[in-house]
């Protein structure tokens, strides 16, 4: 495995680290994986998750670029980037693909995003035909009838009562500290538009992976909710899906993180066309 620093993009403002497998271990046909910020966390990712993912992917023959969007982490703010943060994120993600295409000859990419990172992953996957796979971790959710039903029954959960009792035992200062941290909101695209996008991506042959954690409990609370949110598309067996109700939003417990990484890596390996693995040429 080899890791190198890269600077690229508009005004050469973007900084990233490219992890490449040993030449003997390169997986033929493997797309290059591109990762960027999770919220305000720099390109290392929360709990170093992107570094671990990149290195484990390298062991399976994939190259991965993890980079900071302009003004975040180690990347400089752009002088002429415009005020629209979302637009900049899209441009810069595409700039990462252009860079990898120009410098490394890569033409197929997989994007992965967690939480707010999902926004640019979704938009670029829809726009750019070079993207052959996209993983959305704690991405867009819509409350369903099943969600509301379970939400009403939440006070019957023994876990909720045991938390209440645990908190009562804490010193007052610790009990109150950080309560405000839990307030967080995001704007999601309209459900109908998202369904159209997913439909088009599947027609295009893009491999999709959706992962939800228990940290999305305020809008996502049962295994089948994902398929019910997009029921007209009948996504069962058409996408890779996992729900980890025991994991928090940032997968802060190492075992939860390891499970997530295993899932993502298995999906990435599965997204490599079989003809590439066997060395056969595609037909038709």
């Amino acid at each position: 495995m080899r890791e190198r620093v890269c600077t690229f993009g508009p005004e050469e403002s973007l900084v990233g680290v490219l992890t490449e497998p040993d030449p003997a271990k390169v997986l033929p046909g493997a797309p290059t994986v591109v990762l960027s910020n999770v919220g305000l966390n720099h390109h290392v990712g929360p709990y170093r998750i992107w570094v671990e993912l990149a290195r484990q992917l390298a062991a399976r023959g994939f190259s991965t670029l993890r980079f900071d969007l302009s003004g975040l982490g180690d990347s400089r703010p752009r002088r002429a980037g415009g005020p629209d943060e979302f637009q900049r994120a899209r441009e810069e993600t595409r700039a990462a693909l252009d860079f990898l295409e120009q410098k490394k000859g890569q033409r197929r990419f997989v994007l992965m995003g967690l939480c707010s990172g999902v926004d640019s992953v979704h938009a670029v996957t829809v726009q750019d035909p070079r993207v052959v796979g996209a993983a959305f971790i704690d991405g867009y959710t819509y409350r369903t009838a099943g969600y509301h039903l379970r939400f009403q029954f939440r006070y019957l959960s023994p876990r909720r009562w045991s938390r209440y009792l645990r908190k009562r035992k804490l010193p007052t200062q610790l009990r109150e500290a950080g309560e405000a941290d839990e307030v967080y909101t995001r704007e999601y695209p309209e459900q109908a538009r998202l369904m159209e996008d997913y439909g088009r991506l599947l027609e295009r042959g893009v491999s999709l992976c959706f992962v939800f954690s228990g940290g999305m409990g305020l809008s996502y609370n049962y295994e089948r909710q994902f398929f019910e949110m997009f029921s007209p598309l009948k996504l069962e067996n058409r996408v890779t899906y996992a729900f980890y109700p025991h994991a928090d939003h940032l997968f802060s417990v190492p075992d939860d993180r390891a499970e997530l990484l295993r899932k993502l890596i298995a999906w990435a390996v599965g997204s490599v066309p079989p003809h590439a693995l066997t060395g056969e040429r595609p037909t038709g």
Partner: protein, 260 residues
């Protein structure tokens, strides 16, 4: 900002050089991050501090210790002795890159204790800034374990059945027994005087451990000052809101300017 990997190819470390802007000062600054969870929370503050110092004419270098950030190695491979070597490599790297003869160290929490240990072990420094330092390893670990308890109490997620000390992790990161022992052995109040021209202690609140450190340093005769810097937000512990505070960054910048 110029990113780089430095050190040997098997053990490469990620560094970021912030070149001096305007008239260059003869003294450079190496920033020593805290570890693990605190590294995640403070990365932005360190980038901001590096930029402020560079604008004042300092060449600044920040870097990830082995097994942290973008540097080589896994989290569980982190050891204090290795991180001390990393600080020395980072100082050499800054000197090689820029030609600065003397280097000050700014360290936060565990990074401050590492900076002091590096100076005690012979690293020549123009000055030390100890920002909310770890003074005694035992108290530091107790504080982190308390945070872990709070996290476990507030969460709805079932906690792993195996206890933390068996799982050898803390606040979301691997924390092997060897590193635990290393940190436990750190005690700045038990160290001999270090050959530094000036040591600054920068903290948001007074604490008994800071007073003990102050008394110890006064007894050794080292030039030493304690600066209490009230945070903008009134936060009293290491939290994100506190780490976005500008006042403490301005104080550190001013102290290094005065000393250079």
């Amino acid at each position: 900002m110029t990113p780089c990997f430095f050190g040997s190819s098997e053990r490469q470390l990620f560094g970021m050089h912030h070149p001096a802007q305007g008239a260059e000062r003869a003294t450079g600054v190496v920033l020593c991050y805290p570890a693990a969870q605190e590294y995640m929370l403070t990365h932005w503050a360190f980038r901001k501090l590096a930029g402020m110092l560079a604008r004042e004419g300092f060449h600044v270098f920040r870097f990830d210790y082995y097994g942290t950030g973008d540097s080589a190695g896994a989290v569980h491979e982190g050891r204090v002795a290795e991180w001390l070597k990393d600080i020395r490599h980072a100082v050499n790297e800054l000197q090689d890159l820029t030609g600065v003869q003397r280097v000050s160290l700014v360290g936060m929490r565990l990074g401050a204790a590492l900076a002091v240990r590096a100076a005690v072990e012979g690293l020549s420094t123009a000055g030390l800034v100890l920002w909310e330092p770890l003074v005694e390893g035992a108290a530091y670990l107790k504080e982190l374990e308390l945070l872990q308890t709070r996290r476990a109490a507030r969460t709805l997620f079932p906690q792993p059945v195996v206890p933390l000390e068996v799982r050898q992790e803390l606040l979301g990161f691997a924390f092997p027994r060897a590193l635990h022992e290393d940190v436990l052995a750190l005690d700045l109040t038990a160290l001999p005087a270090w050959p530094s021209t000036r040591t600054h202690l920068v903290t948001a609140t007074p604490k008994p451990e800071y007073e003990r450190l102050q008394r110890h340093l006064e007894a050794t005769g080292l030039p030493f000052q304690h600066h209490l810097v009230a945070e903008d937000t009134g936060a009293s512990t290491i939290r994100e809101s506190a780490l976005l505070s500008n006042r403490v960054l301005q104080t550190i910048t001013s102290l290094l300017k005065e000393a250079a």
